[in-house]
């Protein structure tokens, strides 16, 4: 689908489900913008953003440029530490030492959900490919399976971003397994 269709599609979601969204390097930031804009501004749903691709600080900066209030978004940042990028501690950002600490990512998401969010939240993983660089496929698929089950029990939306350029069969299989819907945005 093209980005216009994607935006329309986002609007149709009314019930929590698990969606995988395949993006390319050229539309990566646009897609993030559409998702956050729809969930944060239209649906008014709290968002937990798990950043494994670029530091949460950079994403915040981009969102500010796009006019999306990043103060409404919680970050679980699991890449800043290993990239040795400077980290600013805010009560909206939780740092995980390494993207290999998958259990800790779940624990931090659970912490934010329990502490700040009641229900109807959105959890975004950015991205499965970044996690795949640091983890073996078996543990990654176990993680996503467990996480999706947990988020269903919490009636949370779950969006997994995947990068078209870095995709492979194994990643597609995992996504097929854990997603209710698979969207490809050209």
């Amino acid at each position: 689908m093209n980005s216009e269709e994607f935006q329309k599609k986002l609007k149709t979601y009314q019930e929590p489900l698990s969606i995988s969204v395949s993006v390319s390097l050229s539309n990566y930031f646009d897609i993030i913008k559409y998702i956050l804009d729809d969930f944060s501004n239209n649906k008014n749903i709290p968002i937990i953003y798990i950043s494994a691709t670029i530091p949460s600080k950079s994403i915040s900066t981009v969102l500010d440029v796009y006019g999306i209030d990043s103060k409404k978004i919680f970050f679980v940042d699991c890449i800043s530490h290993i990239m040795m990028s400077s980290t600013t501690y805010t009560d909206r950002t939780v740092f995980v030492e390494s993207p290999t600490m998958l259990e800790t990512i779940m624990l931090k998401a659970e912490y934010i959900l329990n502490k700040y969010v009641m229900k109807n939240s959105l959890v975004i993983v950015d991205s499965i490919n970044s996690l795949a660089i640091h983890n073996d496929m078996k543990i990654l698929s176990e993680f996503l399976h467990l996480f999706v089950t947990y988020l269903r029990s919490r009636s949370a939306y779950f969006i997994i971003l995947s990068m078209k350029e870095q995709s492979n069969n194994e990643i597609s299989n995992i996504l097929n397994f854990v997603s209710d819907e698979i969207l490809e945005v050209e």
Binding site: T104, E110, N114, K115, I139, Y150
Partner: protein, 246 residues
């Protein structure tokens, strides 16, 4: 069919789920692990959740002054330090030793009786429902023989159980230790064992928890990853990606 025993909820939701509804009331549970694995934190949270429900808690501090412990205690979102001090009785064991004139390095059978009597007295007087002894290892050190350790733990747990008390005995393990307790006796006579540990996986250090044994209930024996947070202890299953318990 097995009679279902009344439960004592730890209040740590995931742990109560692992235990299929909490600790069977009246059990004496060994909370064991090496230094810094979260034994004291877990035990205090157990007392805090009791206090929140109006169940009086007793924390007997053996190794560390309870004042210092309270200072360093994590600040919970759901219960203030003032409330903790109101709902939980903190006693430093040197005070009891002194009161009872127990000044020998090695305790006699008589000393043991005195100590148990004294604890039971406090429990009865304040209608205590949850007891933590942190740590039992330090007391065992002064009991020395296996017989005396066994006698002490068995009699104490029987007395407390009859009073409707659920008890945590904190056990200090050396990282190199085999088994679940310093003297071996503690684990044999406890109704339950909760093992806390550290796991190293490809350079990452994770805190872990496993229920090794719990009389009176079925339970998961899987290993969980633990996080200490201001909303209490959180647990998720350990992913099966390899790694070695250390």
């Amino acid at each position: 069919m097995e009679k279902v025993r009344e439960r004592c909820l730890t209040g740590i939701e995931a742990l109560d789920n692992i235990l299929n509804g909490g600790i069977p009331k009246g059990n004496t549970v060994l909370i064991t692990g090496s230094a810094g694995t979260g034994k004291t934190t877990l035990s205090i949270e157990f007392l805090v959740h009791g206090a929140m429900k109006g169940e009086k808690g007793l924390y007997i501090s053996v190794t560390e002054a309870s004042e210092k412990l309270l200072e360093n205690l994590i600040v919970y979102d759901f219960f203030s330090k003032e409330m903790i001090q109101k709902g939980i009785i903190f006693i430093d064991i040197p005070e009891i030793y002194e009161k009872l004139g127990m000044n020998k390095l090695q305790f006699s059978m008589e000393d043991i009786n005195l100590l148990i009597e004294n604890i039971v007295k406090i429990v009865t007087e304040f209608n205590v429902k949850r007891v933590v002894i942190d740590s039992i290892t330090s007391i065992c050190y002064r009991l020395q023989t296996e017989e005396k350790i066994m006698e002490f733990i068995l009699r104490l747990s029987k007395a407390l159980s009859e009073l409707g008390c659920t008890t945590f005995l904190v056990s200090e393990l050396l990282p190199s230790a085999k088994g679940y307790s310093q003297y071996g006796v503690e684990e044999a006579v406890s109704d339950g064992i909760i093992l806390l540990g550290n796991l190293e996986r490809r350079g990452d250090l994770l805190r872990t928890l496993r229920v090794v044994k719990m009389r009176g209930t079925s339970h998961s024996r899987a290993t969980y990853v633990l996080d200490i947070t201001s909303i209490g202890i959180l647990l998720v299953p350990l992913l099966k990606g390899g790694g070695e318990l250390i």
